[in-house]
């Protein structure tokens, strides 16, 4: 069954869309990842114009993280103060990202920028995930391995304008969280992702936040930045396709439920290797398209279309 997307102005198979949303939903339920970094490139592969894929991907992030953030707020596992600082940075970063996105669209380079960002970030995350899960497997076999120190003082802790973050038990400068927020905002606008994959490690390793508030606080920031970015894309370049979003969201919420159930039953550590390999495969496919001599050297961009 084909479904006509009024903004993308093309039709795609409805079951493919539900499959993409559902498949990524299963993964996000199993591993607790947002999955935006898989949805957007999968949309490129099925022929959705990159600009529409990015803007609609970020809209889908709102749907996939909203119930998580509500649950964490209820459980009081959100550092609202830290979340707000990250959010302020995020909104600013999103504005920067949107500006850059629209500039690159005008110059005819947006597809390249989006693809390059994906190659770089998927390569890094996939590589790190693979390394981490292989190490976890090794550690499981060899319990005497050395454990890393949890809290270390770095240059980050010597910056001015310090602020107390009571929930996280931190007294640090506002600049690191602001900058982390800006970075995540830029990624959201250009790549159509929530940015949790950058935010979570940054909160743990760079800011030194306790793990119990990391997920809730990152969801808090991601939800609002994604909502703001959706709005900015809708207002500045009209590339959010709600028809596409509805199918992705429906597939996603059902998939996430299945994934959560599966995650409890299956051995997630070993499956994480598969997720890492999947991320690397998507990265490889995009990289291949950039590096391999294309069969058609020419492309067309139409004024007012994607």
């Amino acid at each position: 069954m084909q479904i006509y997307l009024p903004i993308a102005e093309t039709s795609v198979n409805a079951f493919t869309l539900l499959g993409v949303g559902g498949g990524v939903g299963v993964l996000s339920g199993m591993f607790g990842v947002g999955g935006g970094f898989l949805i957007t490139p999968l949309l490129f592969f099925i022929g959705v114009p990159p600009a529409v894929a990015v803007a609609t991907g970020v809209n889908q992030v709102v749907a996939s993280s909203i119930s998580g953030v509500l649950a964490h707020l209820k459980r009081k596992t959100v550092d609202l103060r830290m979340g707000t600082v990250l959010l302020i940075g995020g909104l600013f970063g999103s504005l920067l990202g949107i500006w850059f996105f629209n500039l690159m669209s005008r110059l005819g380079q947006i597809d390249l920028i989006v693809q390059l960002s994906y190659v770089i970030f998927l390569g890094i995350i996939g590589g790190l995930m693979l390394q981490e899960s292989l190490r976890a497997l090794m550690r499981a076999k060899n319990p005497n391995a050395v454990r890393r120190k949890l809290h270390t003082h770095t240059w980050v802790h010597n910056l001015p304008l310090k602020m107390k973050f009571r929930t996280s038990g931190l007294y640090i400068s506002v600049f690191p969280p602001l900058l982390v927020g800006v970075g995540v905002g830029i990624l959201a606008a250009i790549m159509g992702v929530g940015g949790g994959f950058v935010l979570v490690p940054a909160m743990i390793y760079l800011l030194g936040m306790p793990t119990k508030v990391v997920i809730g606080t990152s969801l808090f920031q991601v939800t609002f930045v994604a909502a703001f970015t959706t709005m900015m894309h809708a207002v500045t370049n009209q590339s959010v396709d709600v028809m596409l979003a509805i199918f992705l969201i429906l597939g996603g919420v059902i998939g996430a439920q299945v994934g959560t159930r599966l995650g409890v039953k299956l051995r997630a550590e070993q499956l994480r290797i598969l997720l890492a390999l999947l991320v690397l495969a998507v990265c490889g496919k995009i990289a291949f398209d950039l590096l391999w001599t294309p069969s058609e050297l020419y492309s067309i961009t139409v004024e007012g279309r994607f």
Partner: protein, 252 residues
């Protein structure tokens, strides 16, 4: 008296419209509905004749359908630091978003170059390049690429020999509008051709419109982008939160 004579002479000298084309379409409205997968249109018609059939030349029919024009940029990639990047762009002032030409025979044989130029029938002539492309060494390569890409997508079609003409009177052809067509008024022009010249021409329109919901969403997105953004967010929150609330209810 003299004046009358001159007038009579003039009237006699006027070419008689010996043959006239009448046309019909299987549909003159195409609706881009939720499940739109493309559409096939049957174009049929007849040749009305007041005089006897001339037997020293053959009659040909050309059908050209043209979608709304668009301003476009054609990009050419080149390898920069190992990756393929759009390096050169050329603007096109107006290129039809859809262009299909069907004819009874090869255009180059049935139509003279002058007639083609006057009536802009072949695909190449339907595209208007922007001025200021003289500095480029191969401006034609970009236009050729545009035609090649759009032909591969089914947006440009050159279908020589697909118009079926029976007993020099009844003709018909089928054209496929692909799923990627844009909204607007599509002009269908039908030409009668004899000895390379166009002897009669008729134009009719096919209206391609998005269906009600799609129309409403597009209008909202472009006219009220802020409201559209709010709608997108509302749907995301509603489905995202609603679905997990529903599953929680089901579990308990």
């Amino acid at each position: 008296m003299r004046l009358l004579l001159v007038l009579a002479f003039l009237v006699a000298a006027l070419p008689l419209r010996a043959e006239e084309v009448i046309v019909g379409l299987s549909q003159n409205r195409v609706s881009l509905t939720v499940n739109f997968e493309g559409s096939e249109i049957l174009i049929f018609g007849a040749v009305r004749r007041e005089l006897a059939l001339p037997d020293d030349s053959t009659l040909d029919v050309i059908v050209a359908i043209e979608g709304p024009p668009q301003q476009a940029t054609i990009w050419r990639k080149a390898r920069r630091a190992g990756i393929w990047v759009n390096t050169e762009g050329q603007e096109v002032r107006a290129a039809p978003s859809f262009y299909a030409v069907a004819s009874t025979g090869p255009l180059s044989e049935i139509l003279s170059a002058e007639a083609d130029l006057t009536h802009r029938i072949s695909t190449r002539l339907a595209i208007f390049e922007a001025r200021g492309t003289a500095d480029r060494t191969d401006p034609a390569a970009f236009t050729e690429a545009l035609i090649r890409i759009r032909e591969a997508e089914g947006l440009y079609q050159q279908r020589e020999g697909t118009v079926d003409l029976q007993r020099d009177t009844l003709f018909s052809t089928r054209l496929t509008l692909p799923k990627t067509i844009v909204e607007g008024s599509y002009a269908a022009r039908i030409f009668l051709v004899r000895d390379g010249e166009v002897i009669d021409e008729i134009e009719t329109f096919i209206d391609v419109r998005k269906a009600v919901l799609e129309r409403w969403l597009t209008n909202l997105a472009y006219d009220q982008p802020f409201l559209y953004g709010l709608l997108a967010l509302f749907l995301a929150v509603f489905f995202g939160w609603g679905a997990s609330a529903l599953f929680r209810l089901l579990r308990n």
